[in-house]
Assembly symmetry: C2
Homo-oligomer: 410 residues x 2
């Protein structure tokens, strides 16, 4: 039984810190985080697919390519994305890692760098210098401060852990994440660091992260925009007593990692900018799983659908119309749609059938609105064309979303 | 000199009407329009690319395929889209045209049908019957009422005409349009009927409409969603004295049609749901015109970019990031971006350079905000990769947009 705990008790050999460097304007806001392993880690990353990649993304891609078995630390600042900052941005990312390396007495190539915040402003290096100093001195077990220091428009920090006990020993996987806006599918859609004291080979690390990201971070949509910065990193330091072979143990690890990343990804949606509703889109019987995913993503990115969610409106017409423009095989006359309250189906009861084989049913609008007024809604779309399935988690777009994003830089 | 006039004086042989059938809830709202030519027209259509096509779209595609040289009338209702309504929707669309044909003493195959409004409810045929009766009796030259009767969330009717005098005679092109929401690129993105008393061959009609739509209706973005219903129809009845040969005359006709459709398309953006700003995106020097268009559409559809426009925020970072996820050739390090007030450049002065070759310039944020606070903004994005160009017109997303779309059906 894998259980994700919304706290982090202990993951051996890792120390963390979240401090205030002064990059964020708001008085007292934490904005500088550090995660350090006592020993070398195998590490892997999943990166944004945006052609515009921030300096730290490019730096980490290079380092995880050249030095993936000796990683020691991740340094993260919020308040400034260090994106669209050219050669100077790259220099600043390298300088940040140089300073961390010097303080921690490791090589600069053993440090990963993440940044999140406003695009296109140079990192204030005096404040970064300050942050490095403070963070290196504060290393401890304060995961809450660490998760808080990477937030941008998030309203609360996101961190969680899974403790796994097997016949071959015990280990912990722990992670932090930030999100809130610019969250879209098919790329590392947020900032997340996952660490474990399990001992993994490099290929185990890489493969398990890719698999986990595909069913978690790549299945959430807040606004359909894609960040220049976002990435997920997994670091395994092997300090637990557990042995992970490629068979049953690895399957258990994968399940635990999947559960943790799914939890963190869902947290990002729940805390999406101005979100009032958590929507699960269960796309069934599409021609293939990829087509199901594409249909789900298109519905989840439709501004009209999202504003209808906000208005408690069972406007399946907008959902069907969004599916119709997804650019994949779709036939409304074979399609049916149900709405149900909650985040999961109870005994496979799909709830209220409102659209069946191309036409609305004779459902009562008041019944549908009652479901749509719930804080969590489960929508089942049966495409009637094959057996492809995908689940996407998304949210509404509210007045508050517009306020947050109109005023972000002011 | 081609001049679009925001009124319609006379286009020979066409009579129009806009009446109240009672389909819209709001007391007194016009919701039923009819356009009739005294003689047969050559006709062409451009249709939504959505896989979910409303009944009237399917019906018109069929009729314009089978009977494109004998078209006589277009009947349009607002308040109900007759989309996602299955076989019964198709039957209702046919019945509507049957009734019009009977009243006007023409064949039902000579009638085109358009519907716009809420998706997934059956047309109230008693009210349609009422509308047919009233509209056929009201046929006259009231273009304003006609343009008003096709509105949904539009705040004002949209109609215009162009009068062309050539050595070979005089003719008029006149058109109405509706839009406001669910406006996205690469399909007939709104409802529009354009009529002319010029005499065109079928291939001239088809080719000129396609060309005109590509540089007008397909270049506007309100919210990035694609309607199930939208289409543009051109009908030419040849009742003017003008002769249009395939050379210079046709070029003049094309220019006039382009000007008219561009005017109508821009009207749709200006009156977009909750719009406070009119944005011109001039994408230059992309690898190809198609790539320029794709980059422009992606920026114009980005919710984050649109909310930044609303907030008077020169957030070029979001624009560059949107371009980066367009899925086409793009390199931020070769890219520059200018903002300027207004709808056109004055003497090629691109205005304030805020991003140059991958990095922000040292522009003053206050200067940029001043430009962004204007009701019209001209943005030039130079991709530095070739000579492909495209202009896209778009708008912001405001609180009002969310209100309109959260409450649309309630």
């Amino acid at each position: 039984m894998i259980k994700v705990i919304p706290s982090i008790d202990s993951v051996k050999g890792f120390r963390v810190a979240g401090v205030r460097a002064g990059i964020k304007k708001r008085e007292g806001a934490l904005d500088f985080a550090l995660i350090r392993s006592r020993v070398d880690c195998t590490a892997a990353g999943v990166f944004t697919t945006n052609k515009v990649k921030a300096a730290p993304v490019l730096l980490n891609m290079e380092r995880l390519n050249q030095n993936p078995e000796k990683m020691r630390a991740v340094v993260i600042n919020s308040g400034n994305a260090n994106a669209c900052t050219g050669w100077k941005g790259m220099e600043n990312a390298r300088k940040t890692s140089d300073m961390i390396a010097e303080q921690l007495e490791i090589d600069t190539e053993q440090v990963l760098v993440m940044s999140t915040g406003v695009i296109g402003q140079h990192l204030p290096m005096d404040k970064v210098t300050n942050g490095v100093e403070l963070a290196c001195n504060a290393l401890d077990k304060n995961w809450e401060a660490t998760a808080t220091a990477i937030m941008t428009t998030d309203t609360h920090p996101k961190w969680a852990s899974v403790n796994v006990m097997t016949a071959h020993g015990e280990y912990t996987i722990a992670g932090i994440a930030k999100g809130a806006g610019m969250i879209a599918p098919n790329m590392a859609t947020m900032l997340s660091v996952v660490v474990t004291d399990a001992k993994l080979s490099l290929s185990q690390t890489q493969k398990s992260l890719k698999t986990a990201a595909q069913q978690s971070y790549n299945r959430i949509v807040v606004d359909g925009d894609t960040s220049t910065n976002d990435m997920v990193v997994l670091m395994a330091n092997g300090m637990s007593t557990a042995v992970i072979d490629d068979g049953y143990d690895m399957e258990t690890f994968q399940n635990a990692l999947n559960a943790l990343t799914k939890y963190l990804a869902q947290q990002v949606v729940r805390d999406g900018e101005g979100v009032t509703k958590f929507i699960t889109l269960d796309i069934k019987n599409a021609e293939s799983p990829a087509i199901a995913e594409k249909i789900g993503h298109t519905i989840a990115s439709s501004v009209l659908t999202k504003t209808a969610f906000y208005g408690n409106d069972a406007n399946w017409g907008r959902m069907i119309a969004a599916a119709g423009r997804a650019g994949v095989a779709f036939d409304p006359d074979k399609t049916s749609l149900w709405v149900s309250p909650g985040e999961e189906l109870f005994e496979d009861d799909k709830g209220l059938l409102i659209f069946e084989n191309g036409m609305p049913t004779d459902y009562q609008e008041s019944q549908a609105s009652e479901v749509m007024a719930e804080p969590s809604i489960y929508i089942t779309l049966d495409c009637g064309m094959g057996d492809g399935q995908a689940t996407i988690w998304t949210c509404d777009i509210s007045h508050e979303y517009v306020s947050i994003n109109a005023d972000y830089r002011t």
